[in-house]
């Protein structure tokens, strides 16, 4: 029995968004109320989502709010072309969580007298709703619509500070490239629709599972070229969101130009929308396409890691450096996609080993998505904290930050080390799982060892520019005096949450791992 109750978090967020858009007028002089309202709404949504995942208070107190497994409750494959399963819930939680951090920090970052704060929170929440529906979509068109909902909201958010030249410029770039990508995605979908539009049963659908079964029938060599083009168009279109090289060029400009809380949303949540779309489309819908797109994805993963890390080295702007680093991180997450695909494609259906490798890869991917979200959001929030005290976004200005803002500097230290993958921080665990899944996948194709090797080498490379920031913060003497600067409490709180997650991943993962394995299994349908 499906129950519309599984959409309660989305409903809460939409209600909060609409209400805050309206209340924005009434509470123009009281942005703190608006902020509190949005925080409460998002927090409530997270609470409900956690409960549905079986990790929340309801389960702990043994209240049977969600009596049957969410998998069957959330199955709207027929009515809405959506399925809220454990996999979707994980990503939904992730999006809500990042939005929560960004919203919490907004109070310290957005000045009280700035206009349009109601719209700011409303758009942020609507973007999250779009992302959440993307994670649940089981149909290409629904997925596209949800994807666009989130994109359009973020375009507007980047330009939130209308008078800021850099931000409007970034927004225009983001919008134009985003519109191009939407066209590319739509073209890819239409090609796939043209190829598989009518299945043998006679129903017209682009339902991902039907697509998978339909395309398995492909004994037609003539459909190969258009199918390849469609695949590549989808990789490019979703890859734009993920900032996969060579579709990444907008990302540094936009992350640098947007208001930093929005950068948090873009780099940690919006990017993962592209990831979840790629997972859904490629590991389910197009899995059975017998064209060698898997190797291409593996190559793209390696190229993305390397380009991101190499270009990050000479950057002087911290936000820009973090942007390139996030491109590299996306490259690591792509490993999960390549591993899952090769495992499922090369073996006859679901031998134990293939299922194991695929599951392990996806778990690694999801874990990294989660940790990455926390540490990247955290590092951008640190930048937001320094910016709000008038410290420019330049590495020179970070000299001696450990004296002036000890907490932020320490958090930055942890986030950067975690990004580089130093144990026992979160980034180490997720990378470990990811890279070892690539090693496992070498059972199917020995070249996959290269993925693991590239990941390790790239992590070493990235330490170079992360360490430089640490060096500036801790070793060099401050130029602007050593007086301690007060930091906005809301930003500190958000940073603290991210910090806790990154430092305690080892502990959290114990609870989480079982859930993630379930999610991966239900995703693949084992």
């Amino acid at each position: 029995m499906s129950s519309y109750g599984v959409f309660l978090p989305e409903a809460i967020l939409v209600a909060t968004a609409l209400a805050s858009a309206v209340l924005g007028f009434a509470w123009r002089k009281r942005p703190d109320l608006l902020w509190a309202f949005s925080v409460i709404g998002t927090g409530l949504a997270i609470f409900v989502t956690l409960d549905m995942m079986g990790l929340g208070v309801g389960r702990a107190l043994n209240l049977s709010v969600w009596p049957s497994a969410v998998g069957t409750q959330g199955d709207f494959a027929v009515e809405l072309k959506m399925r809220v399963d454990t996999f979707a819930l994980f990503f939904q939680l992730m999006f809500e969580f990042v939005a929560f951090l960004a919203i919490v920090a907004s109070r310290g970052f957005i000045h009280a007298d700035e206009p349009h704060q109601g719209e700011y929170y409303a758009l942020m929440l609507l973007a999250v709703v779009g992302m959440m529906f993307t994670a649940a979509a089981t149909d290409l068109f629904v997925l596209f619509l949800a994807f666009e909902t989130s994109s359009l909201s973020t375009f507007a958010l980047v330009a939130f500070r209308k008078r800021d030249k850099q931000a409007t410029e970034a927004a225009v770039k983001f919008f134009i490239i985003g519109a191009v990508s939407s066209g590319i995605i739509l073209f890819g979908i239409s090609l796939i629709y043209g190829i598989a539009g009518t299945t043998s049963i006679g129903t017209t659908t682009t339902d991902l599972l039907v697509l998978r079964n339909g395309l398995t029938l492909a004994g037609h060599p003539e459909i190969e070229p258009p199918l390849i083009i469609a695949l590549v168009l989808l990789i490019a279109g979703f890859g734009f969101k993920v900032a996969v090289v060579p579709f990444h060029m907008w990302a540094p400009d936009v992350y640098q130009g947007s208001p930093t809380t929005i950068s948090v949303l873009l780099t940690s949540a919006s990017k993962n929308v592209g990831i979840v779309a790629l997972f859904r489309v490629f590991l389910i819908g197009l899995l059975s396409v017998q064209v060698d797109w898997v190797a291409t994805l593996a190559i793209l993963a390696i190229v993305t890691q390397t380009v991101g890390n190499v270009v990050a080295i000479p950057q002087r702007s911290i936000k820009r450096m973090l942007a390139y680093s996030s491109i590299a991180q996306a490259g690591y997450i792509l490993i999960a996609l390549a591993v899952g695909a090769i495992a499922l494609q090369s073996a006859p259906p679901h031998t134990d080993n293939a299922a194991y490798v695929a599951t392990f890869g996806l778990v690694g991917g999801m874990l990294h998505v989660f940790v990455y979200g926390a540490m990247k959001a955290g590092s951008f929030l640190v930048v937001a904290g320094t910016e709000s005290r008038g410290i420019p976004d330049d590495i020179e200005a970070y000299k001696g930050l450990s004296r002036r803002m000890p907490f932020l500097a320490f958090s930055m230290l942890v986030f950067l080390l975690s990004l580089a993958g130093i144990p026992p921080l979160g980034g180490f665990f997720s990378k470990f799982v990811l890279f070892s899944s690539a090693v496992n996948a070498s059972a199917f194709n020995q070249w996959y060892l290269a993925l693991a090797v590239s990941g390790v080498l790239n992590s070493a490379l990235s330490l170079y520019y992360y360490a430089r920031v640490i060096w500036y913060m801790y070793i060099l003497e401050p130029e602007a005096g050593t007086a301690k600067e007060p930091v906005s409490r809301s930003i500190s709180a958000a940073v603290f949450i991210a910090l806790a997650i990154v430092m305690l991943t080892a502990v959290i993962a114990v609870f989480f791992f079982g859930y993630l394995t379930d999610a991966a299994r239900s995703f693949f349908g084992f």
Binding site: F25, K165, V172, E222, I228, L231, V232, D292, T296
Partner: protein, 702 residues
Amino acid sequence: MIAYEWVVWFILLLPLGAFLVIGLVGRRLPEGGGTIAVGAMTGSFVLSMYVFIQVLQQGGLGGGFIPQTIPGYVWIPSLLPETSIKISLLIDNLSSLMLVLVSFLCLLIFVYSLGYMHEEDGKARYYAEVSLFATGMLGTVSADNFLQLLIFWEIMGLCSYLLIGFWYSKPEAAAAAKKAFLVTRVGDVLFLVGVLVIWNVFGTLSFSEIQGKMASLYPNTLTPQLLTLIPLLLFGGAVGKSAQFPLHAWLPDAMEGPTTVSALIHAATMVKAGVYLTARAFIFLVPLSSAIQPPFTAILVIAAIGGFTTLFAATMAVVNFDIKRVLAFSTISQLAYMFLGLGAGAYTMATEVSRGEAVDSAGYSAALYHLFNHAFFKALLFLGAGSVIHAVHTNDMREMGGLSKPLPITSKAMLFGGLALAGILPFSGFFSKGEILSVTFDAGAANPGFYWLWALGVGTAFLTAFYTFRLWFMTFHGEYRGHDHPHESPRVMTAPLIILAGFTLASGLLAYPMGGFGNLIFSGAPAAGLPLVGIPVQDYLLEGVSMGVAVLGLALAWAVYATKRIPAERFTASRGGAFIHRMLTKRYWIDDAYDAFGRTVVYDAARALDWFDRKVIDGIVNGVGRGGVVVAGGSDQFDRRVIDGAVNAVSLETVRTSLRLRQRQTGQVQSYAWVVVLGIVVVIALVFGLSFLQRWLGGLGR
């Protein structure tokens, strides 16, 4: 069967090849590659004749009908072959005739261009674009399905845009090009929607397959509402392309392009594509099975728009002084005749089908016959106008006059064209226009509304003769009023005029004795197995009426503009007359209305919303506490300070932002987009390469 059917492809590929060659290296070729364009077009014309003769031999003349699909390739393959989208050519009586017509006119006009464009810069661009246009038009008339038709149709639209704006440094030309593109786009979107609806209903886009599926899908999948909607959507595309009311505004402005372009694209060929599309839509309008209720509403809409536009456009031609614009309005009016003929014919046919009677395709044939004749005489008139403009370097007829002496060949050729346009026996226009009017009158038996449309058509016949000879007398009669030294155009320009002048006689006289014009181009008959009555309307009384009013119109033009016995001022002397004159010169204010709509509704709405957001909502919020704002006394102040100030501030700010953006942005976003596209290409190459490599390695391993 056509022997060596693959040669049909070369009808399209030759001009396409010419486009590529001229586009790449045209600037280094003599005459900007014009000779290559002419050569390619000659090839296309010869091949079209080859196909046409075979169609005639194998049945066209004997009353048979030969549809043949020339297989091409599968464009979008599908797991189920029947839903895959193929690119194939269709040769039947209609398309083979259109191929000959188009390639012949293209050839003549390309030759003429060698003289007309001789002194222009950018010849290579011109010849490349007209070659691409020829590909588009030939592809449109030979497409075997609606999607392919749409693609070539859009290629034509693109070329039309590029060629109207050929002198792109001239602001009027650039504006006209944009206008043409945007206005026709409205129609194109409707057409596209129509194609999508067809695909949804039928699961195929091919003409023959649709026709085959009609009976089985009606009335469950293909509901009567859909059957009305589909032809109307297709007709929407035709309205845009053929410049019918209310999307007619672009065609007169399109005259900013070179005259050869006006002759080729905006008179002889492209604007006919709408008529051709409506003719292809007959598979929906006249389903040829008495089980299916024909969409009478859709037919009436087509006929009514045709009937209205014909008079509407003719009235505007009467007051214009620009020689090309007069011809442009006349083109709109004549195209409307064709739609009227198609509508009336379809109504009669549909009535007969639903009664189970023999089908009379006279209206369909009459409209296409007029299309055929009009292509010749309107091309002739435009090329003649081009020759005149070439001699006197102005479009304004007030600075012409008395040109028959310096331009003897041009003036005689245009006289032939004018007589044909006016519909005077024995020139071609008489036959086809008379037939259309007779068919319309006869359709009145089925629906009395057609009597009114007939009256409109007859009124137009009068006006047509009047404005045509107004043009001729103002240009060639009397004394020269300009300051130039006009001289006859070179042989390469007059030769096409002479050939076309011959056709204004021949295309009427040749076709008539053969039982009217190709009744059998109607593609529906054999499939339905209904008897086809192929006798054209030969109602001498009705045709006499239409010629009679034409002679009256001619006589009036003679009296006003040649002998000046009736001064032209008399018409505008009274207040009513002056008002009508003003209304006509302002083109019924429709262009102004469109502009105003764009400016006020769209642009100002955006600004108003912005202002509303900034001032009103914020103001309301602020004002709630204060209450009691003095409304009455402050309204004038409010208007001047707040509204004007806000509007000025907003627009200034917009300009400033965009300037700043442009300075900072130069090239970057474009280059990012380029990288995205390039990246896609690279990744596609990567996938193909890997897949090849894997097969190769696999082959080695085993």
